[in-house]
Amino acid sequence: MSNLLDFFRNIPPFPGMNLVDWQAFRGEIWAWLIGLCLITAVAIVGLFVWHSRKVKIRVPQDPFLPFRPLRWLWLAAVPAVLVAIVYLARFLALFPLVSPSPAAGAVGTALVAGFATYALAQLGIWIPGITPAKFRYHPRWLWWLFQRKGA
C-alpha cells in the first residue's frame, strides 16, 4: 500500500534508479497530471453549464428528479486513467531494468489526478452563476451533508 506514494518521493523509490532520470520522470508526469486535470475540469464545467441549462422544470415531480448534469463529474476518471497509462508507459521506457512493478505508483498518481479533477470541477460548479439558481442546492450534496450534521 505504501507503494501508492512512490511517485511523490523526491528520491528514487527503488535502488538502481538514477536521481536525475527520476526527477525528469516526475516533472513529466506532473505536467501530464496538471494539464489533464485542468483541461478535464474545464470541460466538465463547460458540459455542466450546457447540460444544466437544458434541464427544465415542467411538472411538480421534476425538481426531485436526479440532477443529471452532475453526472459529467464522472469524467474526472478520464485524466486518472490517462495519467496512469502515461505513468506506466514512461516508467517502463525510462527505467526498464527496475524490477518492482510501477503499478502501485501509477494507481496512486491516477487517484490524485481523479480526485484533483473532481475537486476542481466541483469548485467550478460552485462558482456563482454556473449552476442555474433553480438547481442551486443540487450540486451541494457535500454541503448539505455538512449542514445536516451541524444541525
Partner: protein
Amino acid sequence: MNTLICAGGSGTRVLEALLHLCAAGLGPPSLRLLWVDPDAANGNGDRVSALVARYIDLHGRFARQVGDGLGLFRTKLDLFEVGGQSEGLKPWSPIQKGERLRELLNVDLLGSTPTSPDLVKLFFTPEELDMDLSQGFRGHPSLGSAAMSRVTFQKEAQPWRQLIEKLRNDLAQDEGARVFLTGSVFGGTGAAAFYPLARFLREEATVNGNRLKIGVSALAPYFRFAASTTRNSSSGARQAARAENFPLATLGTVDFYRHLETHQRLPFDVVHWVGADAPADVNFAAGGPEQRNPSHFVELIAATAALEFFHQPSALVGSCYSASGDGEQAVLEWRDLPLANLDRGRVRDTLLRFLLVGAAHVGFCQPLLLHPDLPRRPYCVPWYWERFASKGESLLTEENQRALQGLEEYFRGFHVPWWEQLHRHDTVRLLNRAALTEQGEVRLDRLANLLWPDRSGEADPEAIDAFYSAMVEVPGNLGGEGGAGAYLALLAHAADRYIASHYRKTGA
C-alpha cells in the same frame, strides 16, 4: 369610506367583477357592501354570496401577511346585518316572501281612504297587482319603484339604520362618504332602486350633506334571452322580463333621469352609462336558482367605474359614457377600458400578475407543495428551502394548507371561470381566451401569452420553468411575513419578474 349598493342580478354580477379586481389589489382599503334584491334565491346571488364568503376568508388569511404593498385581497369588506343575520352577504328586499304588489300597496285598504282604489288600476294591470314578487320585479321597474320607495319606512330597521349611522360618521370626517350604486336600468330591480335609494340617502345626510358623493353605473341592455328559451305561455313567463322591452325600459329610465337633471333634482354626482352594441344571448330564467348568467365585460367596465369613483369621487361629474375605438366591429381591448384616473398599464399588469399567480399556484405550485418528496428533500426546491424549510416553517401545516386550498378554490371556482366567461364574446380582447379552460385552469404552456392576441405557435410546454426560476430569483427581502402569506407574496413578485421578462420584451 366607500359603500357599494348593488341592485338586482346585474348589480350582483358587477359586485362579482369588483371583488375580482379587489382580490387582484386594485380595490380601496375598505368597502361596505349592500345587496338589494327581492329574488334572494337567484343563481347569480348564490354565486356572489359564495364569492364574498371566500373573499372574506382569504382577506383574513392573506391581506396583512403578503405585505410589500402588493395589495392582494387587501380590501376589507364590511357587510350589513340583514334580516337578523350578520354573517355573509344577505340581500335586503323591500318585500316579504310571497308578498304581492296588492299587499305591498295596501290596495284592498284604499277603499277606506279618500283615495279611490281605481287609481291603482291606472298604473298597474291586475296581473301585476297579483304577481308574486319574491323572484324580483321581472323587468317591471314601475313595480320596483313602488316597492323601493318604502325604504323610507324602514330606516329604523337593518340594514338601513346601520348604513345611515355609518354614513353620518363618515360625513363628520373631511373625506366624507362615497356611495356607488350599480345595477341594470332595463330590468326590474336595478332600474327601480337607484333613484329611491339615492334620494333616501340624500335626505338622511342632513349634516355635511355636501360630503356625500353618490355615483351610479347604469347598465344598459347587454344581454337578451335566447329566443328558444322564452317560448313559454305560462303565467309566470308572461309576467317575466322580456328582452324586447329592454330598450324601451332603458329609454324610460334615461328620460326620467334627464327630467330630474333638468329640474336639478338628480341625486347622483356621476352616472356611468355602460352597455354593449351586441347584447349577448343568455338562457331565459324568470328568477331563482336558474338565473345564473355568465359574466360579461359590461360588468367589468361598471366595476372599474366603481373603482374610479372610490379612488377619486369628484374626478367625473354628470353623465359619462364610453364607446369602443374606431373600427368596423366594436371590440374591447385594454385601451378601451374607460379609465379616467387609474393608470391603464397598472390595471392591466395588476390583473395579469394576479392571473399568473393563480395559474402558477393551481397548475404547479400547490401540487408541488403536496408532493411526497418535498418534506424529505426540501432543498430540491430552493425557494421553499430558503424561505420556509430552513427556518423551520412548513407550508404543509393545517393552517397554511387551509389557506392555500382556499386560494386554489378561489382561482379554480371563481376567478378563472369569471375571466373565461368574459372572453366567450369574440369582441373581448383583453386576455388570451385560448389560455383559459372551462375547468377553471390556465394552460401553463400559454403562461407567456395570457394577453390577447393568441399566438398559438408560441405555446411552450416549458413556460412554467421560467416562472419557477423567477420564484427562485426573487430577492430574499421581498416577501410576506411568513406562512401562506409569504408564499402568495413570493408568487406575486415572481409574476412581476415574469411579466418584465416575458411580456415587456414582446411589447405585449
